[in-house]
């Protein structure tokens, strides 16, 4: 168990290396081998994440399974897991196999594509588990590179330019992030995130960053966070990417981006920069709501499924974000569970997208309609996934909704009202999405004759929905482990903001 976190982090990278070194050619056999190796590696990673979940002791305070090793150049490789990162790691480890399923129709240079996907998973897990600012920054910003390679090289016409735009959006954020983290490290004389969170600095001096500096540091993180979630006005890369990139690449970028953005908020902003967060709270909340409204409006009028899913992903990120911004234990729990639920929902919807696209050779809504009459089973799965967006009971979305609303009351009653309005907006978008795909009359010949789901698609959508149902009926599976960390974080935030230095 000593190296459990490193094993979890590096299994995908090892598989990528095996592919890079041993697999040659791009014929059918090579493609099949690459895909099955990806399934095995991501499945094994998820299995290790489950072992980690089982071995995690929720009663224990602080980080567990900590590994700390000195590296050359004065660097320290330190990883550890607490309730917050455990929940998000499980979400990422669960999402990646579904992204592999959504990639099954990739038919060119499959090996390279899988290498990029697996490398991205390692970087994302590394960012969630790192307890050292240097490694955190490397993993966090590095994750985007393989994802953009996937998006740019395997997408349709103009995908390269779309991927480059994402890079251009992210670049200033990365620079600002590094400057901010360097300032924090310099100011506190440590890169140990655990020490920074507990305000237990080795220097023994100032235990917190000064209030004014906290605001500036938070602003330094803001660009990177806003691109990842994404938030207006740094979101415009997403629709372009979604229209051209392979579905799995968009799924990974949009699905894990919000996870990483939320993690930045919960790991860096809330515990290390509480005064700054309090200063910027009205703006952050206002921006989150505005972004939500923007995305929901845009999603409502999309004429293609890819565009609608892209904006839906952006709108869906607002719920866990607003919940986290409430700063309450319930809100933080809702944010973690919400990030996981969002990732699973998007995974299911993107698998549905690949399924429909493959059969109708189009993602335009006008090419669909009436699918429920042809494929009722698929339609029910699709409906359940769409309705998950507004808190379908029996899925994880409802505990998220309930916790977010109840948690928001602890911050401000109007935040709860705003959350409810946001969920209602999501309801309109999700119902519209489902209506355009599945309802209506069965008029088009393509839809009349379209084939049903194959076993892989059924399994992928079923697994996504099954996981959502499991977490909806027994949310304690996750909340029991995230709860103590969320409560401790909420307590420290309340203490810091109620008794300023």
């Amino acid at each position: 168990m000593d190296n459990l976190l490193s094993i979890l982090t590096f299994i995908p990278l090892l598989a990528a290396l095996i592919l890079a070194v041993f697999l040659r050619g791009d014929d059918e056999a090579a493609q099949r081998n690459a895909k099955w190796l990806a399934v095995t590696a991501t499945g094994a990673t998820f299995l290790v994440a489950l072992i980690l979940w089982g071995a995690f002791d929720p009663a224990m305070d602080g980080f567990q399974f900590v590994e700390e090793r000195a590296w050359p150049l004065g660097l320290t490789y330190k990883v550890g897991v607490d309730g917050l990162s455990l929940g998000l790691c499980l979400a990422v480890a669960g999402l990646t196999p579904l992204a592999v399923a959504a990639s099954w129709r990739i038919a060119e240079r499959v090996r390279d594509y899988i290498i990029a996907l697996l490398t991205a998973e390692t970087f994302i897990l590394g960012a969630l588990l790192s307890l050292d600012l240097v490694f955190f920054a490397i993993f966090l910003e590095g994750a985007l590179v393989p994802l953009l390679v996937m998006a740019g090289l395997w997408g349709g016409k103009g995908a390269g330019q779309a991927a480059l735009k994402v890079f251009l959006y992210a670049l200033p954020g990365a620079v600002l992030l590094i400057v901010t983290l360097a300032t924090m490290a310099n100011n506190a004389a440590t890169t140990d995130m655990d020490a920074l969170m507990r305000h237990n600095l080795p220097s023994g001096g100032e235990s917190r960053f000064p209030g004014g500096l906290q605001t500036w540091l938070l602003l330094g993180l803001a660009w990177s966070l806003a691109v990842k979630l994404p938030l207006w006005p740094l979101h415009a890369w997403l629709p372009g990417l979604a229209a051209r990139a392979p579905a799995a690449a968009t799924l990974m970028v949009a699905g894990t981006g919000a996870i990483l953005g939320l993690y930045m908020l919960l790991r860096l902003a809330v515990p290390m920069l509480p005064m700054g967060l309090m200063d910027l709270w009205p703006y952050a909340t206002g921006l989150a709501l505005f972004s939500f409204a923007w995305a929901a409006l845009a999603a409502y009028v999309q004429e293609r499924m890819r565009g609608a899913l892209a904006y839906l992903a952006m709108a869906l990120a607002a719920i866990p974000l607003l919940a986290a911004l409430s700063g309450s234990a319930m809100g933080i729990d809702a944010a973690i569970l919400g990030a996981a639920a969002r990732a699973l929902t998007l995974a299911g919807l993107f698998v549905a997208l690949t399924m429909v696209e493959a059969r109708l050779r189009s993602d335009a809504f006008e090419a669909m309609g009436g699918i429920r009459l042809r494929l009722p089973g698929f339609s029910i799965l699709l409906m359940a996934l769409c309705y998950t967006c507004f808190g379908l009971p029996g899925t994880a979305a409802f505990p998220v909704l309930a916790l977010a609303v109840l948690g928001a009351f602890e911050a401000h009653a109007w935040l709860a009202v705003a959350l409810v309005l946001a969920v209602l907006g999501l309801g309109a978008v999700a119902a519209g999405l489902y209506r355009q795909i599945a309802l209506g009359d069965l008029l088009r010949e393509d839809v009349r004759t379209m084939g049903g789901m194959d076993a892989r698609e059924r399994l992928a959508m079923g697994l996504a929905l099954g996981a959502l149902v499991l977490l909806g009926l027994i949310p304690g599976l996750l909340l029991d482990r995230t709860g103590p960390a969320a409560a401790a974080l909420a307590e420290s935030y309340a203490a810091a903001t109620s008794a300023p230095e």
Partner: protein
């Protein structure tokens, strides 16, 4: 026992869904209906046991649910006389809707070619019944909110999968949003109550009711209840969506009524003392909807519009704390609507034209039974004193007894309701045109449907006898026997309406009901247009300009350079070495890390 009922409903929904097709259509339909019947039977066992037990409400713990911070919510049911009776009524109506779904409501041609319509209908009714079960039995605010959302989704599912008209589908989507608003408002109320009392259990919250903030909770729960009642002027979607097959429309109307009644009963301890605005809105609905019914073009639409009045009356009773009257009224309403709806479906499927239904005696008898019961108008010659204990009479008398300031408006509503229902009956079975449609199915009613109708009529009388015995014959306010008199007046008006040339179709009323009452529809259309315009502005203009103004030129300049660099790198002899070195370095780092530095 409660868990068994719930699981039986869920299994029934699953078995008859597309996922249960492996069993075969007939087997799946039969198995699901049998499970639904078992659930209904058990619900009556629970109901009779609870009513006979003086021990008060009983809590049935199922499992812990959402625990976070100071919140500890569980999946548990609170079973008392009112809730167990509500569930029994909902499940009974669901079973009969399933039976009708396989018989009168479905054209024989479709049954013959295996359209799976019956299977879909059985599945969605079971799902709706299970959602209603959760709402009614929920012991805490969160489970209650979950039940309301589930009920909303199940209602939309019923319409999506059982109604082929695109209009009904769109109406279902709008209804989803209206009811979702109601469900979310109940969650807001739950949040307000949690913030004030740090609890989500109704039992604990009720004991703290005096300390609760009345105004926001009244507002949230009042609106939540109204969303499921669909009062004037917020009901155009419900009117359209209710044009589902008769059995389903009956089930939807009854269950929505039961859910709305439950919302108001649960909300009662926290409501402001005299919610006059809510009562007024409901009374207006009870008066206007029978009139709107007269102005509708099709029999289904007319029945759908008329169905709002009893639901409004039941909700009115619940608002006044008269749960018994509300439930009796809804029981009678559900059965009557089933009988009339299924009979009209049969006429539409088999005959086609108004009046041709007279040749289908079974359907005619069913419709007659429904109209008699629903209007509180017993036919003394046929039924004698039994007429007085029919649920329609009992429920309406109970509602009037607690009407106070709204007494006479509600009596007027009863007259209009009777007029609307008798007008539907007379048009369908005593009209002038008897020409059959060429494609009409001329077969007689299936035996099962006659058995179902007979069973329903027997049930109707049993409901009345049992409930009348339990509650006693309620008084009906200043006018003795008011429901009976209102029924007679409505019947006579309907005869007049039917006989006077030019009155049928209520042409003069049409502009009224297509105009002012449906103003919200215009508001909705305006809102939708505004949202679409804003959405287009956001997505097609602003987002695109942002990209085009800044990032497109930048990436257009950078991309060729990157492509060139990448091409040069790929062509260079060093490329394999650089890539190999990168891979080796990554491998080394991994191994060093795993080996412990």
């Amino acid at each position: 026992m409660e868990l068994t009922i719930f699981l039986a409903l869920l299994v029934a929904a699953l078995v008859s869904s597309p996922f249960g097709r492996g069993l075969g259509e007939q087997t799946a339909t039969f198995a699901a209906t049998a499970l639904g019947a078992l659930a209904a039977l058990l619900a009556w066992v629970v109901c009779i046991g609870t009513l006979g037990d003086d021990a008060g409400p009983r809590s049935v713990f199922i499992a812990p649910w959402i625990e976070s911070g100071t919140l500890a919510s569980e999946i548990a049911f609170e079973v008392d006389g009112v809730s167990s009776l509500s569930v029994a009524i909902a499940l009974t109506i669901a079973v009969f809707a399933q039976l009708y779904g396989a018989t009168l409501s479905t054209p024989k041609t479709l049954r013959r070619v295996g359209d799976c319509r019956a299977m879909r209908l059985v599945s969605s009714t079971a799902l709706l019944a299970s959602a209603a079960f959760v709402v009614i039995f929920a012991s805490g605010t969160l489970l209650f909110g979950a039940g309301l959302i589930a009920f909303t989704v199940a209602s939309a599912l019923i319409l999506d999968f059982n109604v082929r008209s695109a209009g009904a589908g769109r109406a279902a989507a709008r209804g989803l949003l209206v009811c979702l608003t109601g469900a979310l408002l109940s969650l807001l109320a739950a949040g307000t109550l949690f913030a004030a009392g740090d609890a989500v259990s109704f039992e604990v919250l009720t004991s703290l009711a005096g300390d609760m903030p009345a105004r926001p909770v009244t507002l949230a729960l009042g609106l939540a209840g109204l969303a499921f009642t669909a009062p004037v002027p917020f009901l155009p979607w419900a009117l359209k969506a209710s044009e589902a097959p008769g059995a389903l429309a009956a089930l939807l109307s009854t269950c929505a009524g039961l859910v709305a009644v439950t919302v108001f009963l649960r909300a009662q301890p926290f409501l402001e003392p005299d919610p006059v605005v809510l009562e007024g809105l409901i009374a207006v609905t009870a008066i206007l909807m029978p009139l709107a019914s007269l102005a509708q073009q099709s029999a289904r639409a007319r029945l759908a519009a008329a169905a709002f009045a009893p639901v409004a009356l039941a909700v009115f009773s619940a608002l006044n704390g008269n749960a018994g009257a509300a439930l009796i009224l809804l029981a009678g309403h559900g059965v009557a609507l089933l009988l009339m709806g299924a009979a009209l479906d049969h006429v539409a499927n088999h005959a086609g034209e108004a009046g041709a239904g007279a040749e289908h005696r079974g359907a005619q008898a069913a419709a007659l039974g429904g109209a008699i019961s629903a209007t509180g108008f017993g036919v003394p010659v046929l039924l004698g004193p039994l007429a007085l204990v029919l649920p329609g009479y009992l429920g309406q008398a109970g509602a009037l007894a607690s009407a106070e300031a709204f007494y006479w408006p509600l009596v007027g509503a009863l007259v209009l309701h009777a007029l609307a229902l008798w007008a539907i009956y007379l048009d369908a079975f005593h009209g002038r045109g008897k020409k059959k449609r060429d494609d009409a199915d001329t077969d007689a009613e299936p035996i099962l449907s006659r058995v179902t109708s007979g069973g329903l009529l027997a049930l109707l009388i049993a409901f009345g006898v049992v409930l009348g015995t339990i509650t006693g014959l309620p008084g009906s306010g200043p006018l003795p026997g008011a429901p009976l008199l209102a029924g007679v007046a409505g019947f006579l008006l309907a005869l007049l309406f039917h006989r006077v040339p030019g009155a049928r179709g209520a042409a003069p009323l049409r502009p009224v009901f297509e105009g002012p009452i449906f103003l919200p529809e215009i508001f909705r259309m305006g809102l939708e247009t505004a949202l679409r315009s804003l959405g287009r502005l956001v997505s097609d203009r602003l987002d695109k300009s942002l990209l085009e103004a800044v990032f497109d030129p930048l990436s257009a300049r950078l991309l060729p350079g990157l492509d060139r660099l990448s091409g040069q790198f790929n062509a260079s002899r060093a490329a394999p070495w650089v890539l190999g070195a990168a891979v080796a370095a990554a491998l080394l780092v991994t191994l060093v890390t795993l080996a412990g530095g």
